[in-house]
Amino acid sequence: MYENPDGVMIGLEVHVQLNKLRTKVFCGCTTDYHNDPPNSHVCPVCLGLPGSLPVINKKAVEAAIKVGLALNCTIEEHTQFYRKNYYYPDLPKGFQITQYDFPISSGGYITIEGEDGEHRVGITRAHMEEDPGRLVHEGTIDKSKYTLIDYNRSGMALLEVVSDPDMRSPKEARRYLDKLRNILEYLDIFDGDLEGALRVDANISIMGGQRAEIKNISSHKGAERALLFEIVRQKNVLRRGGVVVQETRHFDEAREITLSMRSKEEAHDYRYFPEPDLVPLKISGWAPAIKAILPELPDARRLRFVEQYGITDDHAKALTSERKFAIFYEDVAKKVDPKMAAVWVCDVLKGELNYRDLPVEAFNKEHMLSVIYLLMNKKITEDGAVDIIRTLLDKGGTPDEVVKEKGLLKVEDDIVSTAAEEAIKENLQAVADYRAGKEKALNSLVGAVMKKTKGRADARTAREILLDKLG
């Protein structure tokens, strides 16, 4: 049982860009704008030109239903879009089309690895809305002499996933974000690697204070840092006898601190009312069909991997915690010994990739198979395999090339045998020690064999042959 001594309560609002759709949520402009000049993928609708009207992208609604179902939410019978009236230069109509009463889904949960084992975080609601444009400031927002606006992002379909305040530590918040991102990627509606794909606002309170809302968090690590800072700040305020007031704070990513944003603008009155240009949706009837074709989600895949491939739960968990890794593993596991594949994909490759901060795409699946085949056929040693993986990541090439260049092919057993005989003859003292019961003496004999074979012998094999010869 986790004590949660400070009474930390964290709730997250995550803005997920449905960036695998082909078009924006209310117009036919492409979502593929990331490398293009500003304002080159806009139309009367997403530029808010007078007289333009929104029309809902059906696929965006389907994606929202998928997410709702994957988060164990109820898909609402009646759902509707509202106008949220506020003004900012990135908002071309002077209001944002979003959902208010009647969101598309609500009342779900996500299971995460909590402070004390499995922990459920409630999902209040997941609703659809449109993304504003992108603002560019010269330097910082408070110093910039002007603001530049690019509306290419304007009108991208967003899903705002609002959690209950169920997380009890910054670590749990980060795990929640990791899990959410993973689920979204499993659903194939979202590419978390694209800029601006996932943005987080966090609500946090500790015992004895009111909650603060932290805006402008753009990474999972950032969320953890911001929350850690905020807990310390709130505790300090209380310790000094102060009051933690309800307010909005801005996360300064560079300095890893949060700053108060209190200003006149904060007296918000959004004047929500139903968007008269969009008619209501009655789409709960779509849910069963979508549920039937919902892809396998991380938790289910983890169980299946254990069952189907006989690997450990730790391996299964690590392999399924990222969709691309799970796919990589499974493709490999189908062709070789799945347990061996788990060791080499999960323990070795994943570690090497993490060390280099590389995605799984950086390593060719066929190369992984080659390495494992070489191992299975005892052509290379385990150390040699690690060497190949590292070399491929650092310098490129193919496993065969690396084997050839580095001379990693394992020497034949009879060469090891000859070397062992020589080693026995040349190290009589060690042989005597071993025979006298000093097990460790064997190590120096193995070392001698390795030296003679320039390290290309497999140490385990060398040991076995020595034991055999020593009777």
């Binding site: 009367p44 007289g51 029309v55 809902i56 106008r83 009312f273």
Partner: protein, 469 residues
């Protein structure tokens, strides 16, 4: 005034260019101030092209005037507001695409109340439009320029928009025919919103037949407007000179206090005429009419306060000197909007704001339900309803402009129709001295055929529409 048929014959005999040039000439010499922008060059060019290549569209070579709140690619579109100074849309409204396909030639953009907020065309940044029948009087509004253009012979056809009577009111004051279709029949794509849930684009002409022809061209489903219905326009065949067996409902609430005697008499006479032609009439009760005006204005202002938030001077329109963003935004709007627009934005903002939403906005929407039910009940017995369009004929310029409530009260007969979303056509039915009087024939949802037939039969059997200004 020349009809579409007459003009088509002349285009075949002479040329579209000649006809367009004649209308342009009349616009140039006119004192009505019906137009904000005259697209002389593009109109003549388009006419020459049609003359050279031929065109088999129903409006081939025929000029048309467009209210300046309808987006026209390459032609300045201002909503008669300073805030849209110089705005040249990069796209055409759905109706403009349809008109171009039909061969129509856009000769200019007509004057209107700023952002369609008014009933007199006096709130335009470009000055008031005058009534062709009496230049000391208003042409009605908000589509005053479009009605005046047809009445003054400056365009044979025009388009307006009707949020709470903005087509029918000026049609009535200018002695022309104007139609407000069922909500959803004409795409609003490209119509600059005043109150989205209430408004429709509507045609003006000097006869019911021409209104029907124009309506056929511009009606129909548009996938870019989510509130557009899946029906195609083919209303001209409904124009039969026959009202035999037609059941006319007379909503007594529309003939009550504040109605000019001559107006009441003309409309009742018109009903008698139709009865003589075979129709029957009955009284119908519409008990919630008295709440319609307030409900209408609250809904319209609420929607408008949000619709007009986009005019911030960043992407288009007026830009004042830069300060911080919020201040610049407030200055642009203070400088760019006129008094009536500001009043409606302020009231709409208030009606939606925390603590007042239930009292105003939601209450108004509940009344809207009751008004719609009034119509449903009336239409159980009646095929069409007939009532005055306006309580009185055109009033003097300046007479009401400083008294918003008296100006709002002018819309008392027209706004319930928009709240219920039903169609209504206004056509001339008499005179008060030298000023035309209009009556409206109101139909069930999507039953434009019935009101067009009723209006056509009345027109065929009377001469009011032939008396020129």
């Amino acid at each position: 005034m020349a009809s579409i048929n007459e003009l088509t014959e002349r285009i075949h005999a002479d040329s579209s260019e000649e006809i367009v040039a004649e209308y342009l000439e009349r616009i140039t010499n006119s004192r009505l101030n019906a137009f904000i922008t005259v697209s002389k060059e593009s109109a003549l060019l388009q006419a020459q092209e049609i003359d050279a290549k031929g065109h088999d569209g129903p409006l081939a070579g025929i000029p048309i005037a467009i209210k300046d709140n309808i987006s026209t690619k390459g032609i300045m579109t201002t909503c008669a507001s300073k805030i849209l100074t110089g705005y040249i849309p990069p796209y055409d409204a759905h109706v403009i695409e349809k008109l171009k396909n039909a061969g129509a030639i856009i000769i200019g953009k007509t004057n209107m109340d700023e952002f369609a907020m008014g009933s007199s065309t006096e709130t335009s940044f470009y000055g008031p439009t005058l009534n062709a029948w009496d230049m000391t009087r208003v042409p009605g509004g908000s589509s005053g320029g479009s009605a005046a253009a047809v009445a003054g012979g400056e365009a044979p056809l025009s388009l307006g928009s009707d949020t709470g009577g903005s087509v029918r009111c000026p049609a009535s004051f200018c002695g022309v025919v104007g139609l407000k279709p069922t909500y959803g029949v004409i795409s609003r794509y490209g119509l600059i919103s005043y109150a989205n849930s209430l408004e429709q684009i509507g045609p003006f002409a000097s006869s019911v037949r021409d209104v029907a022809t124009l309506f056929d061209v511009i009606a129909g489903h548009d996938p870019r407007d989510s509130t557009s219905v899946k029906r195609e326009g083919n209303y001209s065949p409904a124009l039969e000179n026959d009202v035999n067996g037609l059941k006319i409902g007379i909503p007594e609430e529309y003939f009550g206090e504040g109605i000019d005697r001559n107006v009441e008499k003309s409309v009742r006479d018109a009903i008698n005429t139709l009865e003589e032609l075979g129709a029957t009439s009955m009284e119908v009760k519409m008990p919630h009419t008295k709440y319609a005006l307030s409900a209408y204005y609250i809904i319209a202002m609420s929607e408008a306060s949000s619709n007009l938030a986009r005019f911030d001077g960043m992407r288009y329109g007026l830009r004042t000197e830069d300060h911080d963003w919020h201040t610049t935004f407030s200055h642009v709007r203070a400088d760019g909007f006129g008094d009536e627009v500001k009043r409606r934005i302020l009231l709409g903002t208030y009606a939606l704001s925390a603590g007042y939403l239930d009292k105003y906005y939601l209450k108004a929407l509940k009344i809207r339900t009751l008004i719609k039910q009034d119509f449903e009940r009336a239409f159980k017995d009646a095929d069409v309803l007939i009532a005055p369009t306006m309580p009185y004929p055109a009033f003097k310029i300046g007479e009401k402009i400083d008294d918003p409530i008296s100006l709002y009260l002018a819309d008392v007969e027209t706004v319930p129709i928009n709240l219920a979303g039903v169609p209504s056509i206004s056509l001339p039915c008499g005179f008060s001295g030298s000023l035309p009087i209009g009556m409206q024939v109101i139909g069930k949802h999507f039953d434009e055929a019935a009101i067009l037939r009723t209006a056509y039969t009345f027109e065929e059997n009377t001469d009011f529409h032939k008396e020129g200004s």
